[in-house]
């Protein structure tokens, strides 16, 4: 059974088709009942993904799976599952009821695109996957299309992704022009650092930097993140970014491995810029969505520390950090989503005195923010520690120093939110409410992930055994 190699994608396509059929044939008044079956279906697919199966190549090498890509796909699938759980509350709102299955279909389409992107063995396939992952996202960002901000976010996302795709394609065309092939396995041998190839790489890197929202290609991030519905924002900032980081790492480590000298400086400079500017802008934010947007820009800068080492350690730490980042950022976004859905409040000031009224939510938020900042008991600390170790191993002490300084700056603004929740008093705090079961399950998974990954070291070893031999 050759097609079992592509089981992740085929299963997802299958659920998407089922959901589309349901959407077509189900009468309008029963559409709300689709949520639970869809979640169960997706949960089953998520668990099926963990079953070991064949790996190999399909379509003449255009599609490749390795144990490493399977691991990445599983990580992404878990993240998407949490996003689904967190969005149930929002989907049940009056104005979204008609679009529930569309939400699932669009989000699954982007996931399928990302999985094809991760498994690509050819730049053409990679590009197709990238587009499949981006275009439905614009539709999702404009999901509440009668809200001006949401529509604006959709338009901004589609314009920036069109621009970035154009730049990326131009780079790819130059690679094709100099090497004469688009297959990764052949491109590796053809790339030798010729000037046109350097130009091609810069274009390619800029295109990817848009997707990861690396400074100086980050300007779309804050507006899109603020305008999009909050669950889409968390999807954009975690899953979409995580997938782009993973594929960039793979490509840099395999396709561009022979010309590391060509990209190390680029990654070095963008890492410093991204960390610093992301942090400095995050300090000034009053809106929690914008705040988390800039914090996620800064986090992308930290990830580059792992990439720059170009070692097996680097690869492992990048995946480990993305895994931790998924749990911590989804935890923070989950809390913001619950509160925003119930009360419509998104400002940091609104969270004053939250601990007195909603202690559980505040504790969850605190853990998630501690993890983002990198405070020891939770997993985020180890994620950052390993990233720094990977860079220090290569002797990049100045870069590590700047990263540590940035971590201290980031502590300030993460703790501002914690201070608002725990220490500040407010005459009109957010009143107590009971959040729905799905959100609570999602947040519980996040907290469990944060604590378990933090104290259970075999997870790192587990990832490490997959990354062996990639570089």
């Amino acid at each position: 059974m050759l097609m079992l190699i592509m089981r992740h994608e085929l299963l997802l396509v299958l659920i998407t088709v089922i959901l589309l059929l349901v959407e077509i044939f189900l009468p309008a008044d029963r559409k709300q009942k689709i949520i639970l079956p869809a979640l169960i279906l997706f949960g089953v697919v998520m668990i099926l993904g963990f079953i070991p199966g064949p790996t190999g190549r399909l379509f003449g090498g255009m599609y490749i799976t390795t144990p490493l890509t399977l691991l990445m796909k599983n990580i992404l699938t878990v993240g998407v599952f949490i996003v689904f759980l967190q969005s149930v509350d929002w989907l049940k709102k009056e104005e979204n009821r008609e679009k529930i299955s569309e939400y699932f279909i669009l989000l699954l389409s982007t996931l399928i695109g990302m999985e094809y992107m991760l498994s690509s063995g050819d730049f053409l396939m990679f590009y197709l996957g990238l587009e499949l992952a981006t275009i439905p996202l614009a539709a999702l960002a404009a999901f509440e299309r009668f809200k001006e901000k949401s529509a604006e976010a959709g338009v901004k996302l589609i314009f920036t992704s069109a621009l970035s795709s154009g730049i990326l394609l131009y780079g790819l065309s130059m690679i094709y022009g100099t090497v004469g092939t688009l297959y990764f396995s052949d491109v590796v041998n053809g790339i030798n650092g010729a000037p046109l190839q350097i130009l091609a790489f810069i274009f390619f890197f800029a295109g990817m930097a848009f997707k990861i929202s690396v400074v100086p290609f980050h300007l779309w991030t804050a507006d899109v993140y603020e305008g999009a519905p909050i669950n889409i924002t968390s999807y954009l900032s975690v899953i979409s970014k995580g997938a782009a980081v993973m594929i960039l790492t793979i490509l840099l480590f395999t396709v561009f491995s022979k010309v590391a000298i060509m990209w190390k400086d680029v990654v070095y400079v963008t890492a410093i810029l991204t960390m610093t500017i992301g942090n400095l802008f995050a300090i000034r934010q009053k809106n929690l969505k914008r705040f988390l947007a800039f914090s996620s820009i800064a986090q992308a800068g930290f990830i580059f520390l792992g990439i720059i080492g170009q070692s097996q350690l680097g690869m492992t730490t990048v995946i480990y950090f993305v895994l931790v980042y998924i749990f911590s950022n989804l935890g923070a976004f989950g809390v913001v989503a619950v509160i925003s859905n119930r009360t419509g409040k998104e400002k940091i000031d609104d969270y004053d005195g939250l601990y007195r009224t909603n202690p559980m939510l505040s504790l969850t938020m605190m853990l998630a923010l501690f993890s983002l900042a990198g405070i020891p008991p939770v997993a985020g600390f180890f994620g950052k520690f390993f990233l720094f170790a990977a860079a220090a191993q290569q002797g990049l002490y100045i870069l590590v120093l700047i990263a540590v300084l940035n971590t201290i700056i980031s502590l300030y603004y993460y703790l501002l939110v914690v201070k608002a929740m725990f220490l500040n008093r407010s005459d009109r705090p957010i009143e107590y409410f009971k959040s729905d079961g799905y959100s609570r399950l999602g947040l519980a998974i996040c907290i469990a992930g944060l604590v378990i990954i933090g104290i259970y070291s075999p997870i790192y070893e587990f990832i490490n055994q997959f990354t062996f031999g990639i570089y």
Binding site: V17, L20, L21, E23, I24, T178, A194, P195, L196, L199
Partner: protein
């Protein structure tokens, strides 16, 4: 390929574009009238403003047309090698039809084919 050739590439590129623009401004006879500056529609002088909102229905129809367009692009090569592709190829094309048909059915059910 060395750095010089890359620089040469840019210079030649800029040069060729410059030459083309220069020639097209020097060589042809010039005659100006206000109609020439307008966007070309069908030859008749344009009426009214062009900054109008277009009916979104046009876009919908264009997108649905794309379904059939893609279908043709894929069916032609398959039809050429139909005998060689055998039953496996036939099954694949049926799956392809199914997915495309699903898209059309969805658009139909959502009322995208109704002209309002």
């Amino acid at each position: 390929m060395s750095a010089e050739s890359l620089i040469l590439f840019f210079i030649v590129g800029a040069f060729l574009v410059g030459i083309a623009l220069l020639f097209s401004s020097i060589v042809p006879p010039t005659s100006t009238n206000p109609q020439k500056a307008e966007a070309y529609e069908c030859g008749i002088p344009t009426e009214g403003l062009t900054w109008l909102q277009f009916n979104v229905g046009y876009y919908l129809f264009a997108i649905i047309f794309l379904i059939f367009d893609v279908e043709t692009v894929f069916i032609f090569p398959w039809a050429v090698v139909m005998k060689e592709a055998g039953i496996a190829g036939f099954i694949e094309i049926v799956i392809f039809f199914f997915v495309l048909g699903l898209g059309l059915l969805y658009a139909w059910k959502k009322g995208a084919l109704k002209w309002e």
